[in-house]
Structures are given as C-alpha cells and as structure tokens.
Amino acid sequence: MPAFISFLTITEFTIFGLPEDISNLIFMVLGAAIFCGVSAVMALLGVYLERKISAKMQDRLGPMEVGSHGILQTLADAVKLLLKEDIVPAAADKTLHFIAPVMIFAATLAAFAVLQFSEGIVFSDLNVGIFYIIAISSFVVIAIILAGWSSNNKWSLLGGMRAAAQIVSFEIPASLAVMVVVMSVGSLNLGDIIDAQEGSMFSWMIFRFFPFNFIAFIVFFVASLAELNRAPFDMPEAESEIVAGFATEYSGFKWSCFFLAEYANMFLVSVVITTLFLGGWRSPFGDFLNSQPFQLFWLLSKAFVIIFIQMWLRWTLPRVRVDQLMYTSWKVLTPFAFVAMIGVGLLMIL
C-alpha cells in the first residue's frame, strides 16, 4: 500500500507521536469535516447538474449568467440562502423546528462514515455496515415528521405525514433487496460485499443468480427513489398540491439543510447501489485500470451514472398519485423483493 493510503487508514497511524487516542480523534474529526465538505459540494454540484440536465431535456439553456455556463449559479444561491432572514413562525414549536434540520443533516453525514471509496479507504469499517446505513437513514423520517409537525402549518403536517408513510413503505422492499445481496455474500460489511464481486463486470452482484439479483437491483433502485422523495415519487413536496410540504415554514439556511441532505442522500444512495450491485470501486475490466486512483474514479463514475438516471427519470415521468405510490410499494415491489429473496435462497442451496 502506498504511504498516503496508510495515512488514511484508521488505527494504523499516529500523528507526530501523539497518543493513539488523540490522533484517532483528530483523524475522525478530519474525516467528518471532509464529508461535510463533500456533501456540501455534492449538493452544489447536484443542483447544478439537475438544472442543466432538466434544461437539456426541455430544450432550453438553464443557468448561463453566473460564471461560465452558469457554473457558479448554485454557489451564488448558497450565499443567498446564508444571507436570508431566518423566520420561525410564532405558532411553531421552536425547539423541534430547530432540531429537524440539524437531525436530517447529521443522520445523512453519519451514513457516509462506513462507505468504502477505494481499497482500504474507509473511515469506519463497521462489521454491520449496510445494516447500519439502513438504520441511520431512518432518522430522515423522524426529522421530516418533526419538521412537519413542529411548523404548525397544515401543509407542513400533510407533507410530513405523507413523507413518513412513503418512506416507511418503501423501506420494506429496499431492506429486502439489500438482504438478497447479504445472503449471496454472507456478510454485512461493505468491504466484504465489494470483495465478493472481485473480477470483471460479470462478477458484479447484479449478474449473480440471474434474474433474482437483477430483480433486487431494480427493486432497490425504485425504492431508493421513493425514499429520497424524488420524482416520480415526490409527493411530500408536491408543490402543486401542498405548497412545499414539510419545508413550507422553513427559510434561509434551515431550509437549505433539507436540500443539502436530499442531494447528499442522492449521492449516498448512488454509492450504496454501486457498492451492493455494481462492484463498488472495482474496475469493470478485472485488474485492468484497477489501481488506487482509478478505483475512486470508477466508484464516482458509476455513482454519477446512477445520479444521472435519477435525474433523467425526474424530468421524464409525471408524479404518481398517492394511491399509486402505495400500490407500487406494497403490491409490486414487496412481492418482487420476496420472490428475489426466496429465489436466491433456493439457487444457493441447490
């Protein structure tokens, strides 16, 4: 392993002879700070891509004024949001109103801790990695309900309740799809899952136990769209029905926290899909171009393809109705996820 890699692996290094505990703590805080930056940059980049991609799909130009091809537009928006007056409605529950944006961002950031970005580069190599991600992402539901409830606004409450019903409904098929991968690997650790997909792209999880793992991939992808509250499942923020849903009474930086978390979550989900089904940081050509810097490149390019598909769907499909949403979750995805699980189990014992 090159020297800069061991610099990045926890427990193996100490900074300038400091006691191990303190250097570990510094390392952790450094990691957390990096990911705060990463999620902020991902949000800026995500919003920019969203605008540009939607513009291209609708045959317009999108932001063009600020910077070359509008590249600084989202940065200007971020500054604008920081300068906005923070309004807390007089009728709101002020404590909960404050906790909701903090919680949604903290939970999203904490999920980043277990992701593997290339061989050995991981901040927290939890043995229950993927289960931990499922668990910590559930905090998003609590934060959204808090936001909806505490605002003391009918739109907010409706949006919050819708979001909660939607996210918990889609968590079942998503978790079952993850279980399919866990069954075929035999470990919850993200590193082990990536190691199990060693080789060329045909050893990726998506091509195992055909067609059951492929079904699991589709189920997980659709369910993750709904869990992210993204179109075509963006009922919680359906602006034509309930104004801005749970975020109606939020302004300024608190409001942008929700969007920061949404785009950071998009990136998170894309990396998780990549890790589970598309070989993580592994090169699609086996050992060809599979050195350390290329691994990061492969991971990011796979993740960005997933993000592009998410945006593509958003600007192609109309929003589904709430009854169609429940139909999709309970009557389509959940049975298919069970079929995939049982099918993989059968193929494995045969």
Partner: protein, 144 residues
Amino acid sequence: MLLNFATVLVFLVAGAFFVGMNLVISRLLQTRNPHPVKLTTYECGEIAEGHSWVQFNIRFYVIALIFLIFEVEIVFLFPWATIFKELGAFAFVEMMIFVFILLVGLAYVWGKGDLEWEKPNIVPDARVKPVSEQKTNKEQIAAV
C-alpha cells in the same frame, strides 16, 4: 470495533456542529427586519383557520402498523441472511415457514383492502344504524 462506532458518533456530532456553525454564520450575516406579519402561519395568503395540530387520516396509522410488522421481520431476517451460507437447507426451510406466515399476513391485509389508499367500496357494518335512524342526544335522554 468500538473505535469504528466512535467514528460514527464523531460524524453525528460533527454533522450537528456543521449545521449549528452555519446557522450562527447565517445569523451574523443576515439582514434582520422582523415584522409580526412575517411570523404568521402560511396558508396561501389567508389568515390561518384554526389549529394545525389536527387529527389526520387513520390510514397513516394502518400503514405504520403494517410497516412495523414487516420491519421487525426484517430485523429477524438479517442475522439469518448473514450466516445463510453456512446454515444450508434446514435454515432455509425454517425461515421460509416464517416468511410464509408473514406473507399470509400480507395477503390478508391486501385482501381486506387496507393497502388501498382510496377505499371504493366500504362495506356497511350491519350493527351500526344509518345516521337517519340514530337517535339524537336529546331523544336518548328523553328515552331514559
């Protein structure tokens, strides 16, 4: 392993700190121009009618219950899935029995129509009289 969980804790705290720090920065930079009208509840320009902490649709409660049942099942399934390779056919059959019982539950909920958001045909309960036949409070008191 403890160190790994400590990292997670540091990430959680750092996330909260990041938001808090930005809120402070925002508070320092923003122009504040308070007005009582700004603090009213938004209701599309109307003056808000009544309280917002109202009763909501019971359907959300049903969804939450179904979710809870399946989520608990998934918590049971994960340890099984992790060591499934070593356990083999016997564990598979056992877990299939467990899953089957839950699928019967799903089929029951499905058949009963609790998964429908819109309930098109509400079967009237024979024990409950139609409203027109029910006695009003006054009549009930008079009857006693």
